[in-house]
């Protein structure tokens, strides 16, 4: 350090003194030449290596040539006997990560160090060598590594074990051979050796459940010395518990006593690891939870922030599933609201919001108000979300909570934060009728001074839907028209739409709205002018107090129930002509592309080698295909095409699946056939369908396939007539008939003679779900209300015992073939009841909405309440018939 000492005098003058001030890569690389001196100056060399490491650490990169040059000169330093220098050499070699041909240069030096008498050399040489080595070299040094694992020096053993953990990723087959040695090291009395050995042993055996279970069983009885190893053991134990609980339901949970015992360990990290493991057990009971919650509660009042954070974060997660278990900690939580660490305070507040009872809400909100001003936006969003859930839980408290939201809405904040607040208010208005009027006014005030166009337009749209239904719609007009005067074009346009909605619904306001809309005709933005013109015309020009047509209302308020992707495709395909674009021609089926792809990948296991001809799967292509066949062109518009249904087992001679195309008066079966025998050519392929079990269907046409060579999929069709509009169902038995000709696969020559043959296929079915299109709605509640209760049919059904609730839900969804809305197809784990919303379009273009309420009792009997609303009474009944049968 002589160089540093020399500069001592300058220190006081230079505040920003640094030994690396003005350091430059080129100069340091020059300096690195000292490594080549015949008389090595160890101290100088160490300093130069430190400088090189400093450069690398600051993000400087060396070119390939530079790195190689440095590496080669560094290898010369193995001659020096200085321990300190050698350590620096190890470090720089690891940092330079030499290529495999360079590694050879140092291999022998490192292997010498691995067998040296100095433990520090041995441990470090192992780590360096394992870091830079590849598989071939590894087999050479394997013997030494196995010895090192059981070395009596813990530093050497740990070095070998940790290297083993890394090598397991790249050379698993070699490392797995060491398990005897590793097993021995697990018994080591050195704390960290045991930790490293346990980690490696588990990774070697992780795919062998039985072995992991044995390992855990033996260790939980024995003594584990280091807290780190104990934490590992807790993790492995939880894994064993998780896997064993799948098999044996009920009874004592294995190893729970061990976890509970760890709560009394002397190391905090072990106590915490065990407490967390208990809270994460599947279906944890409150009796099991209690001891874990108790230790976490103690941590809450610790002087260490890390401990408080860990505890409150875990309790916050527990509060989501077991709010009652956490209520004991509420007093400690409340004191954490004033915690210096804002992460802890936020977690404490959101936990309290989840566990609090109705009477405590007001007090809690007072505390939160003070707290909100000094936390960052990211925390505020978390709090806003928690408050929204609280309000939905205690609707009577909406006044306090709504006031709180409107207050924070007025304060400074970024877009994400404001959006979270606005979204929350909108949800509260929708779900709590009493909160509507005050909520709308808060939103109106907010847009008076809102800097985010996106939020303004969202709110204006929402006002247009909800405002006209309020007790005094006229009071909102001022706020909305102010936007037309003061805002940018996007907001102005959306304000015009909102005004029109008021005009359409509130007849008494119509004349005044017309005055306002006419003013908008002179706006300098064309979108604003266009909208004003459009609405003035649709609302019926003279602006007198008259009732608005139903059609106009539908136009203004109806949601666009066409998937935007489909609309986009159709618009792109539209060629300008005399004929206007017809929006009803846009396919309404929601395309689930990834699903279709998955299916097609799975269903052609027999398509050997040949470029798998992707089965035609999308509605558009089906439509094109069918209309190109003259026999079917008169059937009209295709209503729906089903997903392909396999009619043969996998790996059979002929692979056939069927796609059902539903038309108004017809059904077409499309059989996709693949011949998987290279020695055969099939000709005149057709499917003979017996429809005796499908009385309402009459066969009208067949279209056979001329030839079906090996591994080239082809299609044959059969068409049926059925009564118009009715959802006729039936079962069809299918036989594949064809003419076989032998083929020499080597030359491809076909023999002249052939024989007639047939092949039995599985039955196909037309079921009620085939008459249902999956069409989503954007806002189920609005759609439900607009359909009205006229054709509502409600009934209850028992579904019998089921594996799980989600099992029953998905079975009903499949049965009805409808589109689940708002993510309600997902059933929360453990829940005993569930509501599911479905929408669809029934044949004859009848919109159908379904509300399902499921409940399950202790004997796994599932009961279901089915409420249907549709535009047609008979369709509502038909849906019930589907379920009843």
């Amino acid at each position: 350090m002589a160089q540093f000492v020399k500069k001592d005098d300058d220190r006081d003058e230079e505040a920003e003194y640094s030994p690396f001030l003005g350091i430059e890569k080129g100069a340091v690389l020059q300096e690195a030449r000292v490594f080549n001196d015949p008389q090595l100056d160890s101290r100088r060399c160490s300093q130069v290596i430190t400088k090189l490491l400093y450069l690398l650490n600051q993000g400087e990169t060396f070119t390939k040539v530079e790195a190689t040059e440095v590496f080669f000169s560094v290898t010369k330093l193995f001659q020096a006997k200085d321990i300190g220098l050698r350590r620096m050499v190890y470090l720089i070699i690891k940092e330079l990560s030499p290529s495999s041909d360079e590694v050879i240069i140092v291999t022998s030096s490192l292997m010498k160090d691995m067998n040296s008498k100095t433990d520090v050399y041995r441990a470090n040489a192992i780590r360096v060598l394992c870091r830079i080595t590849d598989g071939t070299l590894l087999t050479q040094i394997e013997r030494y590594l196995k010895q090192a694992i059981v070395d009596k020096n813990p530093v050497v053993a740990s070095a070998a074990l940790v290297s083993g953990i890394h090598l397991l990723q790249t050379n698993p087959e070699i490392v797995k051979r060491w398990s005897n040695e590793v097993q021995e090291a697990v018994q080591s009395r050195a704390a960290l050796v045991q930790f490293h050995a346990l980690a490696l042993l588990h990774q070697i055996r992780q795919n062998d459940r039985l072995a992991v279970s044995k390992l855990v069983t033996s260790l939980t009885r024995g003594t584990v010395r280091s807290p780190l190893a104990q934490c590992l053991l807790i993790r492995y134990t939880s894994q064993v518990i998780r896997e064993s609980s799948m098999n044996n339901q009920g009874g004592e949970r294995p190893f729970y006593d061990f976890l509970e015992g760890c709560l009394r360990h002397k190391a905090e990290m072990v106590i915490f690891e065990a407490a967390r493991a208990i809270t994460e057990l599947n279906n944890v009971t409150s009796r099991e939870l209690t001891p874990a919650i108790t230790v976490l509660q103690l941590f809450l009042s610790s002087s260490k922030p890390v401990l408080r954070f860990a505890a409150v974060r875990t309790l916050n997660k527990v509060a989501m599933s077991h709010p009652m278990a956490v209520t004991n900690c509420n007093i400690d939580m409340e004191s954490l609201i004033s915690d210096q660490n804002r992460s802890i305070a936020t977690l404490a507040i959101t936990t309290l919001l989840k566990t609090g009872n109705e009477s405590g809400v007001d007090r809690l909100m007072k505390q939160i108000t003070n707290f909100m001003s000094d936390i960052a936006d990211e925390f505020k969003i978390v709090v806003v979300d928690a408050i929204r859930s609280l309000c939905l839980k205690f609707p009577l408290k909406y006044r306090t909570l709504m006031n709180f939201l409107s207050n924070i809405l007025r304060e400074e904040g970024g877009f994400e934060y404001k959006k979270a607040i606005v979204d929350s208010i909108v949800i509260l208005i929708r779900d709590i009728p009493d909160a509507k009027e005050s909520g709308l006014l808060h939103l109106c005030e907010f847009i008076e001074d809102c800097e985010f166009t996106y939020l303004s337009t969202q709110i204006l749209h929402f006002l247009g839907v909800e405002g006209p239904k309020a007790s005094d719609p006229s009071k909102y007009i001022r706020y909305i028209y102010n936007r037309v005067i003061l805002e940018n074009a996007t907001v102005r346009a959306s304000a015009v739409s909102t005004l029109a909605k008021f005009g359409a619904v509130v007849d008494s306001l119509k004349p005044r709205i017309f005055v306002l809309l006419r003013r908008c005709l002179y706006d300098n933005d064309d979108e604003v002018r266009d909208r004003a013109t459009l609405y003035l015309n649709t609302l019926g020009g003279d602006g007198s107090v008259v009732e608005t047509d139903k059609e106009v209302k539908e136009f203004l308020f109806g949601s666009l129930d066409i998937p935007l992707v489909n609309l986009e495709t159709s618009l792109k395909n539209y060629e300008p002509s005399e004929e206007p674009f017809d929006i009803s021609s846009v396919p309404r089926e929601v395309k689930s592309v990834p699903l279709a792809e998955k299916k097609s990948a799975g269903k052609k296991p027999t398509a050997l080698g040949a470029p798998a001809a992707t089965p035609i799967s999308t509605v558009d292509t089906y439509e094109k295909l069918l209309s190109s066949i003259p026999e079917f062109s008169s059937f009209g518009q295709l209503f729906k095409s089903s997903a392909p249904v396999e009619l043969t087992e996998a790996e059979t001679e002929y692979a056939v699946n069927v796609v059902k195309h539903i038309f108004d008066k017809h059904v077409v079966f499309q059989y996709n056939c693949t011949n998987t025998i290279p020695e055969q050519l099939l000709e005149n392929v057709a499917v003979v369908v017996d429809a005796s079990e499908a009385e309402e269907f009459a066969e009208v046409a067949t279209k056979p396939l001329k030839a079906l060579p090996y591994d080239t999929p082809g299609q044959t069709f059969v068409a049926f007539e059925k009564p118009e509009g009715t959802p006729a169902v039936g079962r069809f038995s299918n036989v594949l008939k064809f003419f076989v000709k032998e083929v020499d696969p080597s030359t491809g020559e076909v023999e002249e003679d052939g024989v007639e043959d047939e092949y039995q296929l599985e039955d196909s079915e037309i079921v009620a779900a085939d008459y249902m299109l999956k069409v989503g709605v954007s806002n189920f509640r609005n759609a439900w209300e607009s359909l009205g209760p006229d054709f509502e049919r409600v009934d209850e059904y028992g579904l019998g015992p089921r594996e799980s609730l989600s099992d029953a839900v998905s079975a009903v969804i499949t049965l009805l073939g409808m589109q689940p809305c708002e993510g309600t197809e997902v059933v929360a784990g453990n829940s005993r009841s569930h509501s599911c919303l479905l929408s669809g379009v029934y044949i004859g273009n009848v919109k159908v909405l379904v509300r399902l309420s499921f409940g399950v009792d202790s004997s796994k009997e599932v009961a279901m309440k089915l409420a249907v609303r549709s535009e047609d009474e008979s369709v509502s009944d038909a849906i019930h018939d589907i379920v009843a049968n």
Partner: protein, 178 residues
């Protein structure tokens, strides 16, 4: 959570947020720019907190970061979202105390830069490729110091703590190996 506890990075920054020594063990930050961006955001986020007596903790980009400050040095240890916070803080404490021992109690940027070789070796002894190698500050400092002090140097040049650490380590080793 069946995996071994792991550390994603260890950072030693100065009071401006600039690097003194950093070490990354995870691919979450593939480029130097990504690393610097992470350092900048964790520095800004924690700058105003008081982490001088007790280690503090924060969440950043789905990571848990524990940190501690001393004079113009900021120590950070980052782990994954579901890592045991107390394990990370044990690593931090080990790093912090080992650096204090190696810098003979003068834990500031100037001293750290002048003994940067010791800091690098210290990092190397705490974590190997994300896996915790050692958390006991005395053992860590002992391994680093006993090697870097020239064997020929007179004993008086070693500080008491260093001597103590070295002695303790020899003692433990002889106990363990006996």
């Amino acid at each position: 959570m069946e995996s071994c506890p792991s550390v994603k990075n260890i950072l030693l920054l100065d009071s401006e947020g600039d690097r003194v020594a950093v070490k990354y063990y995870s691919d979450d930050w593939p480029t130097n720019n990504a690393k610097e961006a992470f350092e900048k955001s964790i520095f800004t986020k924690t700058q105003k907190t008081n982490a001088r007596t007790e280690a503090e903790i924060a969440m950043l980009e789905n990571n848990v970061v524990v940190y501690k400050f001393a004079q113009d040095l900021h120590f950070f240890v980052t782990g994954g979202d579901d890592e045991n916070e107390l394990i990370l803080s044990t690593v931090l404490q080990g790093f912090f105390d080992a650096v204090s021992l190696l810098l003979r109690g003068n834990v500031d940027k100037k001293e750290a830069l002048e003994n940067l070789d010791l800091i690098f070796l210290c990092l190397d002894e705490i974590i190997d490729g994300g896996i915790i190698l050692e958390t006991d500050a005395n053992v860590i400092a002992g391994k680093v110091a006993s090697d870097s002090v020239d064997s020929g140097a007179p004993l008086s040049e070693q500080t008491i703590s260093q001597a103590l650490a070295t002695a303790r380590e020899h003692f433990t080793r002889s106990l363990l190996s006996g």
